[in-house]
């Protein structure tokens, strides 16, 4: 399956009002192209920190539901945050890793995720639920399952390497606009 297909499937079952923190690089641009909403936060830098931003939201507002759209390069870079999330145990926290074993936005260089099972790492760190899939037809039901967990959930979705489809938009919001609109959404 392509990364775009996988992101579309997950985006399609995200519960309303869920904050989505999308990691820097292609994942943000794909999500923005598929489905923009005020509760989406697109990172343009600070690689590896998407789950920590989402955790900050959940620690400040424990009833808030959050999703992280992450990549394998990001998860590998911020592995300590998996332990932190497991320990803090946000109750409505679904962490998706779209794993193509590539640093796609810098030209498709290899990562090491083909030799490390990041879902096993999340489980060992103490996530309440952690699964992996390579099948497109499973993605939406597993994503729903991730969203229904009582503790942090991690779903690794193996996707094919590849660049951005032609015509994928750039995020057409300034960083402070993104902050403002999410802050506003979180004030409600």
């Amino acid at each position: 399956m392509t990364r775009e297909e996988a992101i579309r499937e997950v985006a399609g079952v995200v519960p309303q009002d869920t904050v989505i923190v999308a990691s820097n690089g292609h994942i943000s641009r794909v999500l923005y192209s598929i489905k923009d909403r005020p509760q989406n936060f697109y990172m343009i830098g600070s690689m590896g920190l998407a789950p920590s931003i989402a955790l900050g939201v959940c620690l400040a507002q424990p009833k808030r539901r959050a999703a992280v759209f992450d990549g394998d390069g990001n998860v590998l870079m911020g592995m300590g945050s998996l332990a932190q999330i497991a320990v803090r145990r946000p109750s409505r926290f679904a962490h998706f890793c779209f794993d193509n074993s590539r640093h796609a936005s810098t030209g498709g260089q290899r990562t090491i995720s083909d030799r490390v099972d990041l879902s096993a790492v999340a489980r060992a760190a103490g996530y309440a639920w952690a699964k992996r899939t390579e099948k497109l037809e499973e993605v939406s039901s597993l994503a729903k399952e991730a969203f229904s967990q009582e503790g942090p959930a991690f779903l690794l979705i193996k996707v094919a390497p590849g660049g951005l489809p032609k015509g994928t938009a750039r995020v057409d919001l300034t960083p402070e606009q993104m902050t403002d609109r999410l802050r506003e959404a979180l004030a409600r």
Binding site: G45, S46, L49, S52, R64, Q84, L186
Partner: protein, 173 residues
């Protein structure tokens, strides 16, 4: 305001008083990685459950948590040793600064005037220049003017700029 000004020798502020002042200023989310120069702040911080305190695993993780907490309505404080400035610089500049997510950085000054263990000397010398070069406002904590200094921080935060208070050895007691 410059790195050469600062507290009179021998003066200090109890950690619990400083924590109370931070709370009175509305700071309500604490995260970070400890430094021995901040040790006096930890008993009051760890001994309360009114506001979150997160034992961060890395300084950049703490800075990112502060970003999320700010968007969720909190006024965050990030604590770290100045060695952690190296770990978190990219997050500070490519997340908190450009997205205008303010927080108070409470950062220690290991390596001040070259009197410290070798691993602290380069950062001890460079820290003020690094903060200046990223245009992050900073003050050296002075027990005689804490209120004024926190007022200045509050102005930076209202203007959505992350701001730093540097803590030298012996200032928190």
């Amino acid at each position: 305001m410059s790195e050469t000004s600062g507290p009179k020798p021998g003066k200090s502020i109890p950690g619990k008083d400083f924590f109370a002042k931070l709370r009175a200023k509305g700071f309500d989310f604490f995260t970070g990685v400890p430094c021995s120069l901040l040790a006096a702040l930890y008993p009051p911080l760890e001994g309360q459950s009114e506001v979150p305190y997160v034992e961060a695993v890395r300084e950049d993780e703490a800075v990112a948590q502060a970003a999320g907490a700010y968007m969720a309505g909190k006024k965050p404080v990030v604590l770290m040793q100045n060695s952690g400035l190296g770990n978190s610089l990219n997050a500070i500049i490519s997340l908190n600064q450009i997205y205008q997510m303010p927080f108070l950085l409470l950062i220690t000054w290991r390596g001040f005037e070259g009197r410290d263990a070798p691993e602290h000397l380069v950062m001890g010398k460079a820290m003020p220049e690094i903060l200046k070069s990223i245009e992050m406002p900073f003050q050296v904590l002075d027990p005689d003017s804490v209120d004024k200094q926190l007022d200045a921080v509050a102005r930076d935060i209202a203007a959505r700029r992350p701001a730093a208070i540097i803590v030298k050895e012996g200032i928190l007691s």
